[in-house]
């Protein structure tokens, strides 16, 4: 009875098209299990749940949590629209970390990082990632992998410094990105697509998520580990994108939800962009902001942050690129304080004192209490 409820009636036609391809018809008739009961505390699984409960308790106290009530409610309800009757068992936590990552613990606690929220363009893309994670949860993929993560989590508590931050940081990141097996990944992709389709989202958007990440990775040689710890386990390969496109062709229709998404996240974009630039992986940031600038209602802000990335990278020609971006971002007198500061800093370096002074004055006018107001004032006085 329960299983029937989950069958998406509208899917009969589109699923039947799957016959000759990668997918069997049954693949898109996914019926989620009934609500997962809390495992016996004495069992191995129960022990793992207890561990994740503890992690969750820590997470709830964390200074890294995004606590805005409206934003939390919005994303929790998006998760609920995908998880259906499992909604009550899934708790979404928004974490302020500038990387693309989402993870789901077996006890139903889910983390979504702000770097992911910055990078997705609409509700459908976010739904694709959440749906994928819900897929892991429903199929209980993480059980086996959790065992050795317990050790790594403990390790993360021990060392936290500067000097070996790399080692510890990696361990801490790995703890939030469970390494699933490849067939689990395929299954989660497929389930995620089915869930988002049933919730009324366009499955085509899921392929775009990975396409965007591929672009960002190509901005720099490397495996993309700095963009996302998720890549270690979820490589944004062309195959992945293509198989999601194939599924999308079988599950057509649905909306992207671009405007509603941007309306909800726009108050936070400034912080998230700032965090992104602070990663100091400027070439990746340039690729990201270039992508986000396209046809976006927040193009000016994104352009201002691309300028920040250029200015801080400081390669040949970067100052010119930055200046041009800052100027375009403020062309209609947009009150983007950072852009004026950027113009001032670059002009100062070039000994164009009156241009620098003019920009600094505008910056201080817009942002008199900025943390660097003291420094900028001293630059202004010596200009």
């Amino acid at each position: 009875m329960k299983r029937r409820q989950w069958l998406h009636m509208g899917c009969a036609v589109c699923a039947s098209l799957a016959a000759g391809g990668l997918l069997a018809q049954g693949d898109l008739d996914y019926a989620p299990p009934e609500r997962l009961a809390r495992p016996d505390a004495a069992s191995d699984e129960g022990g793992l749940w207890a561990m994740m409960d503890r992690e969750e308790k820590n997470l709830r106290r964390s200074g890294l949590l995004l606590r805005d009530e409206q934003l939390n409610r919005y994303i929790q309800s998006l998760a609920c629209s995908l998880a259906g009757e499992h909604c009550g068992d899934i708790r979404v936590y928004l974490v302020r970390t500038p990387q693309f990552n989402a993870s789901m613990a077996p006890n139903g606690s889910m983390q979504i990082w702000s770097g992911l929220l910055l990078r997705v363009a609409n509700e459908a893309q976010l739904a694709a990632v959440i749906g994928h994670e819900v897929g892991h949860y429903l199929q209980r993929h993480s059980l086996a992998r959790l065992r050795d993560i317990r050790d790594k989590a403990a390790l993360g508590q021990v060392l936290g410094l500067f000097g070996i931050a790399g080692l510890v940081g990696q361990v801490a990141l790995n703890a939030t990105a469970f390494a699933y097996q490849r067939d689990h990944e395929r299954e989660a992709d497929r389930i995620g697509a089915v869930l988002m389709h049933r919730a009324g989202y366009s499955v085509e958007e899921s392929a775009k998520v990975w396409d965007g990440m591929l672009q960002e990775m190509r901005a720099r040689d490397g495996d993309g580990a700095t963009v996302s710890p998720l890549f270690a386990t979820h490589p944004p390969t062309p195959e992945r994108r293509d198989s999601l496109s194939a599924i999308a062709a079988l599950l057509p229709g649905g909306s992207a939800g671009t405007e509603s998404y941007l309306t909800r996240v726009s108050p936070f974009l400034d912080d998230w962009c700032e965090d992104e630039v602070k990663r100091h992986q400027f070439s990746e940031s340039v690729a990201l902001f270039s992508r986000l600038m396209v046809a976006s209602p927040v193009a000016g802000l994104m352009q201002c942050y691309r300028a920040e990335a250029y200015r801080l990278r400081g390669a040949d020609g970067d100052d010119e690129r930055a200046l041009s971006d800052y100027r375009l971002a403020t062309r209609d007198g947009a009150p983007l304080a950072k852009a004026y500061r950027g113009i001032g800093l670059i002009e100062r370096q070039r000994h164009r004192n009156s241009e620098a002074a003019q920009a600094f004055r505008r910056y201080l006018e817009l942002s008199p209490g900025a943390p660097d107001a003291g420094l900028i004032r001293s630059y202004l006085e010596s200009a």
């Binding site: 820590n58 106290r61 964390s62 200074g63 890294l64 302020r96 970390t97 500038p98 990387q99 317990r150 050790d151 403990a154 390790l155 993360g156 508590q157 021990v158 060392l159 936290g160 410094l161 500067f162 000097g163 070996i164 931050a165 790399g166 080692l167 510890v168 940081g169 990696q170 361990v171 801490a172 990141l173 720099r220 490397g222 495996d223 580990a225 700095t226 965090d275 602070k278 990663r279 100091h280 992986q281 400027f282 070439s283 801080l312 400081g314 800093l345 100062r348 370096q349 943390p371 660097d372 003291g374 420094l375 001293s378």
Partner: protein, 233 residues
């Protein structure tokens, strides 16, 4: 039990564990940088900390004083650490303006994806030179610990001299802030070998402390503190 084993493994792996006491009095770091200590510190030798030098009062997981004694043009900041995180190197340039130097420190302190918030940056004399100070808050990524910190720096003859201190916002930062300020005030850069005498030595910095809003700094005892790297129990 597992905890302990993992801890030991990491310490061995990182090749650290070498701790040396730094005594009260004048301490010279590198060729041209010196400072006065009241009460000893622990100097911990970590490969990942080069080209800085790491001192601590309470143990490395608690508080850290990083000393940069003459970073040269083109020198990479903490290269070993960058390699581990697969992040791009941060390089010091002699013509870097203050905001870029601070941005460089910020980069180093966010390599583990900690959240860094600049609270203040302004010009300040340091070690007899025109320099800068900056204050920040950091939420350490792996354990959500809220830290406060500050740094002083100056560029002399194209080399960067700086002190950066960071400690938990609760208890430890207020406990050691004045002590570290005193070290910063005592810092001196000597002229490069073969150079003429410095033009003018500026007086040490004077400033209001950050700490917690509305909170007064506790009196600092100059008695030596018993310090050690905490043993895992």
């Amino acid at each position: 039990m597992k905890y302990l084993i993992v801890m030991v493994a990491v310490v061995v792996l990182a090749g650290c564990g070498s701790v040396r006491k730094v005594e009260t009095g004048t301490n010279k770091v590198g060729e041209r940088f010196s400072m006065q200590l009241e009460g000893p510190w622990n100097h911990v030798d970590f490969p990942g900390i080069k080209p800085g030098q790491l001192w601590t009062m309470e143990g490395i997981t608690v508080d850290e004083l990083i000393i940069y004694a003459g970073i040269k043009d083109g020198q990479v900041m903490h290269p070993d650490n960058a390699a581990q995180t697969k992040k791009q190197n941060v390089v010091f340039r002699r013509d870097m303006p203050t905001e870029k130097i601070v941005s460089m420190f910020e980069s180093v302190m966010t390599r583990d994806d900690s959240v860094f918030k600049l609270l203040r940056i302004e010009p300040s004399s340091f070690a007899g030179r025109k320099g800068f100070l900056f204050e920040f808050e950091r939420i350490r990524r792996n354990d959500n610990l809220r830290q406060l910190g500050f740094g002083y720096g100056a560029v002399d003859d194209g080399e960067l001299f700086a002190l950066v201190y960071v400690a938990p916002a609760l208890t430890f930062f207020p406990r050691h802030q004045a002590r570290v300020e005193a070290i910063a005030h005592s810092a001196l850069i000597s002229p490069p070998v073969g150079a003429a005498a410095p033009v003018a030595i500026l007086p040490p910095p004077v400033r209001v402390s950050i700490g917690m809003p509305g909170q007064r700094l506790p009196a600092v005892s100059t008695a030596a503190r018993a310090v050690a790297i905490p043993e895992p129990k």
